[in-house]
Subunit: 319 residues, 2 copies
Amino acid sequence: MVEELVQRMLNGELRSLARLITLVEGGGEEVPQIMRLIHPYTGRAYCIGVTGPLGVGKSTLVDGLTSLLRGKGLSVGIVAVDPSSPFSGGAILGDRIRMQRHALDKGVFIRSVATRGSSGGLSRSSRGVVKLLDAFGKDIIIVETVGVGQTELDIVEIADTTVVVLMPHTGDAVQTMKAGLLEIGDIMVVNKADWGGAEYLVSELEAVLRQNQRESWWQVPVLATQANNNVGIDALLGEIERHAKALEETGQLSLRRREQRKKEFIRVMEQTIRDRVLDLIVKDEGMAAFLKSVEKGELDPYSASLEALGGLSWEPRRR
Amino acid sequence: MVEELVQRMLNGELRSLARLITLVEGGGEEVPQIMRLIHPYTGRAYCIGVTGPLGVGKSTLVDGLTSLLRGKGLSVGIVAVDPSSPFSGGAILGDRIRMQRHALDKGVFIRSVATRGSSGGLSRSSRGVVKLLDAFGKDIIIVETVGVGQTELDIVEIADTTVVVLMPHTGDAVQTMKAGLLEIGDIMVVNKADWGGAEYLVSELEAVLRQNQRESWWQVPVLATQANNNVGIDALLGEIERHAKALEETGQLSLRRREQRKKEFIRVMEQTIRDRVLDLIVKDEGMAAFLKSVEKGELDPYSASLEALGGLSWEPRRR
């Protein structure tokens, strides 16, 4: 049944794609099989990450980029990584009326993925959905972080080009640097450039970036945009294309992707182990007793963990 | 040697506290022992978490709160959780000239803790440093997130009262809600209240919070402050005290702390297991072979993980 769904999805059936996404989001037993089956068809899409603080206009910027990409005849998948919560619930996801401009365009597929409850940054679901869109044949996949939380910095684990969006009044260059955002951006954008302080932030960022050039083959550019007025979006796309070309020509693209696969492997292993540990805590009496002592404050978590995990052993498999 | 350090720290020796913090930050083998030794002396401090987007003025607010608390004769420990990076490096931490007002006050201890490289939100170091300050005898510990990244939402795993700081122009109530910030705040603050749009944001937040009251015994208040002009800080401290009292009277404080100990136990176990897995990947040939196949893209990470972890087994310990 999963085989059939995957085959149909690979043949371009939108409904099968949607069902597979639902399965991947559910995180059930089928996930490894789905990932194994689509694996040979992945790695062809180019992935753009768009991240930055709350309220800087990321969605509007992604909207503008999408229009330009569609104008060039490229198909686009958009994954909005959303730390939505039980509190905000489904209603907020349902509210997602933005991007209406592309709602009827079959060349654009938009999906919000909730990350709440996953540990370690970008959720398995987000990665899974990106892979599905890749296998489905989207030329460009844009991954956008929607709020604060665990995903801003981890977007580099999935994106080929990372765009960091700031605006005036969300902190100066030093604060941005502290937050780790300067380190991950391949392209920096100061949006709402019609606001006071934008020019100053641009030149401040440029100064800091000049002093801290990360890679010999790429000087991170700083662009001013007004996503609301459609100003500067074409320049941004131009820089993304220039970065993609530089990645390709220097061989950095395959190095980056290699590193990403490694990180993903480790994340998947961690998550698998985590699931087993949580399962044990629920089911195993001995573990439950440790947990109880810790909850009551009788035992500190470090000693408890050392003791409880004493029974963990490993017979490494050979490949 | 660790015993002696702990004893000296418990006797109030500042130098021993500093050395223990360095040990805990280093994450070495001594950590479980240190945690076991200080465990009986923890749980007495009241922990205030201050979180929110980049650039809203959290540090200035913490500065103001600290002055008020000192005025009441309470000792204060401040832990600034900083997702600092190899890129930004130690210089930024060193730059931390803020809080100079309290630099010479022996009743205030300030420490920046880097979180980079840790997975799953608040780092072990941050939790460890909070516990050390608690055992050292600080009355109040303020944990402040410094940037974007993994820590904003996880601060509830450590704080008794969580203060979420926003300002006008960092997104509306719906965006804040999406970001999960409304869910974690026991008190919401709109700082920079002299800016346009502040009143509107306050009433918008109030409306959303009225519709989504989380707990019968506490209606989350929304305060307007101007930390730079020292406006509204006394009201904020008043609300924190009112929340602390409500937590105490309803028995919620011990429930919260119980839940926090549980979460910490799970995090510590995860981290311990993670360290072992990473260690295996480096040292074990079989695991290295899996990793290589994944890096090359021959094998998808999900199948590889399932296969590699096939040899994981568990002999649960009894307690």
